[in-house]
């Protein structure tokens, strides 16, 4: 695939500005025919912006785009699609109640307007394409019944069905198990064999090194360098991304666990669809240890997190925090027993976007002194506390009165972390605490969690990032199909083994479970 050196996409001097930000400052980027070219960089480095320019979603403020040697200008994604470009976004754009086939033809004008297309014919063609590219998925299945990995295949099929020759994938592995990642990378290699060219947006060094032919590293809207994947390594790439040496390993002493602070006994709970999602989970988390729950997204972690923190009712089983039974207690009662919670769903749970940073920082404590005295809010005290927390946790915000919705992802997460730790918890449930954060913010969050563990807090960590689980945990529980498959000592754990348990050595998809 590397012998063909024909540039298929050439972007020269691309400039894209947003109010107050230069997202792309004169970027040159070349994609050769039949190659996999990774765009690597931290959040906000300008990767997605550059690709949105290529895909016609953004109009560049400067620079030119050549496609197969001819200058093009796309004012919409529709034109890009006509020129055989396809993009798979980070957040899937699928209509859940529709079938795979319906989703794939959605938006393509039917030749039989106003009637819909002949769906049996469509299904046949989809099967052809999925056969050719080894993207197995049933065209008649409703999308909501599919796993995340399968939904991603539908997105890729959608682009291929529309005749895409050049495929842009935005952070495609963020939601997959290690095994699914391997499968995807296999599919990508296969696709280049069939003559497709692929741009892979990512901030994960491992997969970029594993699959790419060349790697372009972006930082702050500039190209740092474009290098062949062969002959480079993780450390070099990380340094290029961040601009300094990165501590890839979290340093921590062996834990000295004390009393059990959080105890789960046979917890069962249903998900929003009424299916059993947590199926008899028992766990003990001790003061001064981090217990990491590894698992593929959608295996009951989110529901378990909600049951523990009072946001979801348990069907049966018990939850104890610091010796007190808080099974099915309200979030407030659970909080008052000494539990703090970094929610996995930052925007649905973690912050009020149109409230100020200050208001968000005292969210649970606002009606307690000194923030409320004689039933009156004491704004001075609230702002003083907010300023202290913003300083201590390095939350970058123009002021504590600015609305929290304007914070970047990393700063929003630091704000949540600051708020939860300010409650001086004995138990901390930290769910996906670094999802979507850049390397520096991840470092900060990890360091803070280890500090608290050293100070004697019991931490239950949920993460779909196996690297994170491995780096932070003292013990590791693997969750699959709503059950804890096994609990291991972190020192004895091995990635391959955990990956297999996560991916389900036995079938462990949720959703097929009976009511």
């Amino acid at each position: 695939m590397t012998e063909s050196r024909e540039p298929i996409v050439e972007m020269r001097g691309i400039v894209k500005r947003f109010p107050g930000v230069v997202a792309n400052a004169s970027i040159d980027f070349t994609l050769y025919d039949g190659e996999i070219h990774a765009l690597l960089g931290e959040n906000g480095a300008g990767k997605t912006t550059l690709m949105n320019v290529l895909y016609g979603l953004y109009q560049p403020d400067g620079g030119t785009v050549f496609l197969r040697g001819r200058q093009v200008h796309f004012s919409s994604a529709r034109q890009a699609i006509q020129h055989r470009l396809g993009m798979v976004h980070q957040h899937f754009m699928l209509v859940e109640p529709f079938t795979v086939a319906e989703n794939i033809v959605l938006g393509i004008p039917s030749p039989r307007e106003p009637l819909t297309e002949d769906m049996t014919e469509v299904c046949r063609r989809i099967e052809q394409v999925s056969e050719q590219y080894k993207l197995r998925v049933s065209p008649e299945a409703p999308v909501w019944t599919l796993s995340v990995g399968e939904q991603q295949r539908v997105e890729i099929l959608k682009a291929l069905y529309r005749g895409a020759e050049i495929l842009i994938l935005d952070e495609p592995t963020a939601v997959l198990t290690p095994q699914e990642v391997d499968e995807l990378l296999e599919v990508l290699r296969h696709m280049t064999g069939e003559g497709k060219s692929i741009i892979l947006i990512s901030h994960k060094l491992g997969e970029v090194l594993a699959v790419s032919d060349r790697i372009t590293v972006l930082r702050d809207g500039h190209v740092v360098d474009t290098v062949p994947a062969e002959g480079t390594n993780r450390e070099t790439l990380a340094r290029m991304m961040v601009g300094r040496d990165v501590v890839m390993k979290v340093s921590k002493e062996p834990s000295t666990p004390r009393d059990v602070a959080l105890r789960l006994g046979g917890v069962r709970a249903r998900n929003d669809r009424g299916l059993i999602a947590v199926d008899g989970v028992s766990l003990d988390v001790r003061e001064g240890e981090i217990l990491g729950v590894a698992g593929v997204a959608g295996n009951g972690q989110a529901e378990l997190e909600e049951v523990i923190t009072g946001l979801r009712k348990a069907e049966s089983g018990t939850v104890e925090v610091c010796g007190q039974d808080v099974t099915n207690a309200s979030p407030r009662q659970v909080g008052e027993c000494g539990l703090a919670h970094i929610p996995s769903d930052r925007y649905r749970r973690g912050l009020l976007p149109d409230f100020s940073v200050a208001e968000n920082l005292v969210l649970q404590r606002v009606d307690k002194p000194p923030f409320t005295r004689m039933h009156r809010l004491n704004w001075q005290a609230i702002r003083r506390e907010a300023k202290r927390l913003v300083r201590d946790f390095d939350v970058r915000t123009p002021s504590v009165q600015a609305s929290a919705g304007k914070l970047s992802g990393g700063n929003a997460q630091k704000m949540i972390l600051a708020r939860e730790l300010a409650r001086a918890p004995q138990v901390l449930v930290a769910a996906q605490p670094t999802r979507g954060l850049d390397v520096s913010a991840v470092e900060f969050v990890h360091r803070t969690l280890v500090e608290r563990r050293n100070a004697g807090v019991a931490i239950l960590l949920f993460s779909t990032e196996l690297d994170e689980i491995m780096a932070l945990s003292d013990r590791i529980a693997v969750m699959c199909g709503g059950r804890i498959v096994d609990t291991l000592d972190a020192s004895e754990a091995d990635v391959e083994q955990i990956g297999l348990m996560m991916g389900g050595v036995d079938p462990c998809r949720l959703g097929e479970e009976d009511l």
Partner: protein, 351 residues
């Protein structure tokens, strides 16, 4: 990059706030201009018509009194709805709550008039509040227990309340020996005290007091914080330990209670008996001014005065300048619509 990204919005938001403060004025001007075209088409002089309108609302003591009296019930309902809307509880039932408040308060006025006057007035007003709250509790319970959308339930209950009143004043509550569909006249003791020599009654004073009170409630009490948090995103409020259901019930109770109070205030001062058609759409005007005033109590006060003046001015335009009443109504609606449209446009641009 982060630094530049964050220092910039602070400055542009200052520009945006100037723009957003000017928006309602700009909107009103556009509305007035469109209205002028309509008046021209109707063959009248727009300038004269508008002068008549302004004179009708503010041209003298009598006119100002009229405008103020019209402002009071709209503002009272609008303030209650401000608290509810801040919690994202869309109470469209102000009209029905107003009627039931008038009904319960009216029953007190009809049957307990022998009480000592200060006690009578307090019980009567409380009757109004209780009536409004009771009527708002139906949608509150439906929402909390079954998840039913409060927009539909509150809207439907308006008709039930209005027709219940119509029925009662034709049946059980009809004035003994009377022919008209009204109750007996209230005892004079039920009249709210008013400023000597004017028709400005105690209710107006109370509404004025409510403006800072509601503001204080929303931004200086934990209850207000909870209401706003639920309105901002209820899933986050729940996470933060706020009892979302209790907040919804509170929001409906507050808005219902104030609408009910407005109801009894109006029948005790203007109509002095129970009958149909006692509202003139105040319950709906309250929604309008709450939105027009951007759910800020002071803004709602300005919007209520503006709206009341528009209504009175439009009436005068019809009576004095001889413009068709439909035209006057249309102009009133166009002005309100332009204000809301420009406001929304500015918000979209700056957001």
């Amino acid at each position: 990059m982060t630094a530049t990204a964050e220092s910039k919005p602070a400055q542009s938001s200052a520009d945006a706030s100037v723009l957003s403060a000017a928006a309602p004025i700009l909107g009103a001007i556009i509305g007035v201009l469109i209205g002028a075209l309509l008046i021209l088409l109707a063959g009248a002089n727009p300038i004269e018509a508008y002068i008549t309108m302004v004179r009708g609302a503010f041209g003298g003591g009598r006119q100002i009194t009229e405008t103020v009296l019209k402002t009071a019930p709209i503002l009272m309902i609008g303030l209650g709805l401000t608290a509810a809307f801040r919690a994202r509880v869309w109470n469209i039932g102000g009209e029905g709550q107003y009627y039931i408040g008038a009904l319960i308060g009216g029953l007190v006025a009809l049957y307990l008039a022998h009480l000592p006057r200060p006690l009578l007035l307090v019980v009567m007003c409380l009757g109004g509040v209780v009536g409004g709250i009771l009527w708002a509790m139906v949608p509150a319970l439906l929402k909390v227990r079954t998840g039913m959308n409060e927009i539909i339930s509150t809207l439907m209950l308006n008709y039930v309340a209005i027709l219940l009143m119509e029925y009662l004043v034709r049946g059980p509550l009809q004035e003994p020996g009377g022919f008209l569909p009204t109750s007996a006249k209230f005892d004079p003791a039920t009249r709210l005290p008013s400023l000597p020599g004017t028709r400005i009654h105690a209710g107006v004073g109370f509404v004025l007091l409510l403006v800072p009170l509601v503001y204080y409630l929303l931004w200086y009490t934990p209850l207000g914080f909870r209401l706003r948090a639920v309105g901002s995103r209820d899933s986050v409020a729940q996470y933060a330990g706020i009892n979302v259901e209790r907040a919804i019930v509170t929001a409906l109770a507050m808005s219902g209670g104030l609408a009910g109070l407005a109801g009894i205030m109006e029948v005790a001062t203007i109509h002095t008996r129970l009958k149909g058609g006692i509202s003139g759409g105040y319950g709906f005007s309250g929604i309008l001014v709450a939105l027009l005033g951007r759910m800020n109590p002071l803004g709602v006060a300005v919007a209520s005065l503006f709206f009341a003046a528009l209504v009175i001015g439009a009436e005068t335009m019809h009576v004095v300048a001889g413009l068709p009443p439909e035209l006057a109504d249309a102009i009133q609606a166009i002005i309100v619509l332009s204000v809301l449209a420009v406001d929304a446009l500015v918000k979209k641009r700056s957001g």
